[in-house]
Amino acid sequence: MSGATHPLVCRDLSISFGGVKAVQGVSLALPTGKVLALVGPNGAGKTTLFNLITGNLRADAGEATLDDESLIGLKPWQVARRGVARSFQDLRLFTHMTVRENALAATERGSWFWQTGDAKARAARVEAALEATGLSSLAESRAVDLAYAERKFLSMARILAAEARIWLLDEPASGLDLASRIRFAALLRAATARSVTICLIEHNLDVVAELADEIAFLDRGVVLAVGEPQAILRDKALAAIYFGERVA
Amino acid sequence: MRLSRRALLGSAIAAPTLARAQGGDPYVIGTLFPLSGPNAEYGKVFTEGVQLAMQHAQSEGMLRRPLRLQAEDTQALPQQAVVGMTKLVNVDRASYVMVGFTAVSKAVAPVGDRAKTVMVNGGAVGPDLAGLSPYFWNTIPLAHLETREMLPFMMRRNLKRVALVYVDDPLGDAILGILRNDLPRAGGQLVGSFSVPRTAQQFGPVAARIRQTRPDTVYIASFGAQQGQIIKGLRDNGVTVPLTSYSAMNLESIRNLAEAEGLLFTSQQTDFAAGDELTRRYAADFKARFGSDPGTYNTNYYNATRLFCLLAQKLERENKEVNGDTLRAALLEQKEFDLVGGRASFDEQGSMTAAIQINEVRGGRVNTVTG
């Protein structure tokens, strides 16, 4: 489970907050060019797992590697520069900047007064990202003035413009209407076709069934099962946990 | 400009008709005092002296041209002072500017020097104020001279062990130097020195440190609202020995402070009761106009203003223009003037020397002590 077939691998990742084991011994591997869905009830540790990978939290134990290189101890921006992009459940857009500036900011990584590299190529990437997310006509609107679905797509446009190989998406499709969901699915398909590796957290099982190539089921910080979507979704025991009918 | 000047004249000093009767553009007397902020009490005191001197000059008809007071607020801060000074020099064309406070004086001195405008200090007493510019004069003996005069008195009263509470500015430094060097020679001893920030409010802890040094007297070298707080802080916290200080204590808020009873401080000599005609009239009119006995600062700025009137009168008689150079020449020519408190003499730098007296606060009044 490593190297060429699985660029991002977690091994025995654990963290606890004040005695509560939020994530314990999680091992997962993201297959190249596939969509892995993280499923589980609230508080299962899905977002915490993202935070461990991206360096927002420091694992108590275990490892996360990208192309066999450890990510542990790296700062979030260092992880990002290695090609891992993420979205947030609450989006965290650059609210007072325009749509174009939001995407443009995603292409600029230098912290110095100016950027190195090809400015034209960056601008082209921004236009392509806006085109793909259907935001071209809104390019000069401020993020704060967008409608809900448009904001979600702007969050995706930033990730597109960032040109990452690994996408970690936190509930990217929640609250989208059917038409938007179809556009969203197309966006992911196009990405996986370019060998982008995706991991998404999703509550809507229809969306999961439609998009995921593989499902990992988390509960109380533990991976209970990993496998084909149909197998996991049909598992009665897992369904009981998911819908809150816990067995002691 | 002309219109507003007329309006100003009317409100500040005299009726416009009087102004016209005396004829010509007024001489503008500028003041750069703190009129707001923690040192504003001084601004009020300084201005009263100026106002009374102008009133006397007008009623005596000393000058052919009328006088106008132009007050600028400095908050005792250098930057505001420079703004005010450039306004006085360039907009109001002030003939004579009165300043107070060390930092203000130092900041405006270059401006006045360039414009050849006479600046007179009657309030700040740092030793670094002598010789700032040929146009910078002092009508107050600089404080280190006051402290030196205090030493023999302390020895006579058997106040030999002295503790010093001071604000760490050039004045405080100079007083510290004198107590360190001259006090042992006079037969005393500096048993402790405590520098306090200008903004300090709590003096209980300092009092505890002072008690440890077992002094015979505590010398206070601060100014403004803080002085009262120091006195109260020391008295409340078990410091019972006599307190000594310099002329900055001559404020109403100190006189009225119960804890200040018995405070000893130096100031330049003025005998309001037994003095000459000028001094007696001053004391009487001051009481009539402002409802209280005049203090040192009132007098210093009265004298500073009076000095201008005397110099300008002399120049008018000689049919000379009144400007910085002629004023300076007139000052150096005469050197001795009849001012409130007696005859005052000025040295080459324009600093006034006067006899020092020692005062004591008793029952809300300042009394001169002898011996």
């Binding site: - | 504003a40 760490d168 903004t199 300090a200 802890p205 109403e252 402070l257």
Partner: protein, 289 residues
């Protein structure tokens, strides 16, 4: 003995700091308004007390008037300054500048009306006597400690027993929650301002008796209250009170080791150190990123 004297003196100052700091922390915790004009409440209360005292009114009436004016000022600030600004979605520093402007106005009005310079209520309460060899204590020491203790006890009871007090504490922790329960956060804000400002009044009265007032005194009070709120941990009244007490003690005890010119800086070194190394304060939750 010097140390003991400094410690006791520091406790007296610290008790007053604790009261104003706690008022500031209460307002900040419940409304998230950084009430920079808190010092102005203090100034107004102190001067009104002085005015009444010097005109021969009984002390209790002066204290009552001081509490009323502080409370009234706090409520007026909430109602006429902070709320309109927040309605316009003004940011943190908009509030800051507005409050700064009000402080300037109050300071100068007080200066015009009450005279500029040092004023103090003359009373024997502040006169210290030697209680132990080399240790001087004034009756006001016991008064300060008692007043602080009684007020903190009362405040504690109010915040834990009275429904409005409980709601205030809840508001400090989660303002959305309160709105969800349909409680009026506006009325709670007013309550927080009234209570917080009232807490400054006893401290102002005691200061007027001991160290005295000048019209710029609010500045210092404000700085100390803010420092104590941060050091104590935002949202924790206990923390603010304890930190206020500690700042008072630190300011005094530092004289055992250093010269007085460093006393004020010492408080701010403590503040700076806390922010760098323990930004959550004594009792706060983690705020570092």
């Amino acid at each position: 003995m010097l140390f003991l004297q400094l410690l006791l003196g520091g406790l007296q100052t610290g008790a007053l700091y604790a009261l104003t700091a706690c008022g500031f922390a209460l307002i900040f915790g419940a409304t998230k308004v950084f009430h920079f004009a808190h010092g102005a409440s203090f100034t107004l209360a102190g001067y009104l007390f002085l005015l009444m005292w010097n005109n021969g009114y009984p002390a209790w009436l002066g204290v009552l008037a001081a509490i009323l004016v502080a409370t009234g000022f706090g409520v007026a600030m909430e109602r006429f300054v902070y709320r309109p600004i927040q309605r316009h979605e003004g940011g943190f520093f908009t509030v800051f500048v507005a409050a700064f402007g009000v402080s300037l106005v109050v300071q100068n009005l007080v200066g015009m009306w009450a005279g500029r310079g040092f004023v103090v209520a003359d009373s024997t309460l502040s006169r210290a006597t030697e209680v132990l060899p080399e240790v001087f204590l004034a009756p006001v020491f016991w008064v300060s400690l008692a007043v602080a203790a009684v007020l903190f006890l009362a405040l504690g009871l109010f915040l834990t027993r009275h429904p409005a007090g409980v709601a205030l504490r809840a508001l400090a922790q989660n303002s959305d929650l309160i709105r969800a329960y349909g409680l009026s956060s506006h009325r709670l804000s007013l309550l927080a301002f009234a209570l917080g400002s009232a807490l400054a009044a006893p401290a102002a009265v005691l200061t007027a008796i001991t160290t005295g007032m000048n019209e710029a005194v609010g500045h210092h009070v404000m700085l100390i209250s803010m420092a104590a709120t941060i050091v104590g941990g935002v949202g924790s009244l206990k923390g603010a009170a304890l930190a206020g007490l500690s700042l008072g003690v630190a300011e005094s005890v530092v004289l055992n080791f250093a010269d007085p010119q460093w006393a004020e800086a010492a408080s701010f070194v403590v503040l700076f150190g806390f922010i760098l190394f323990r930004p959550s304060g004594l009792f706060g939750h983690a705020v570092a990123r």
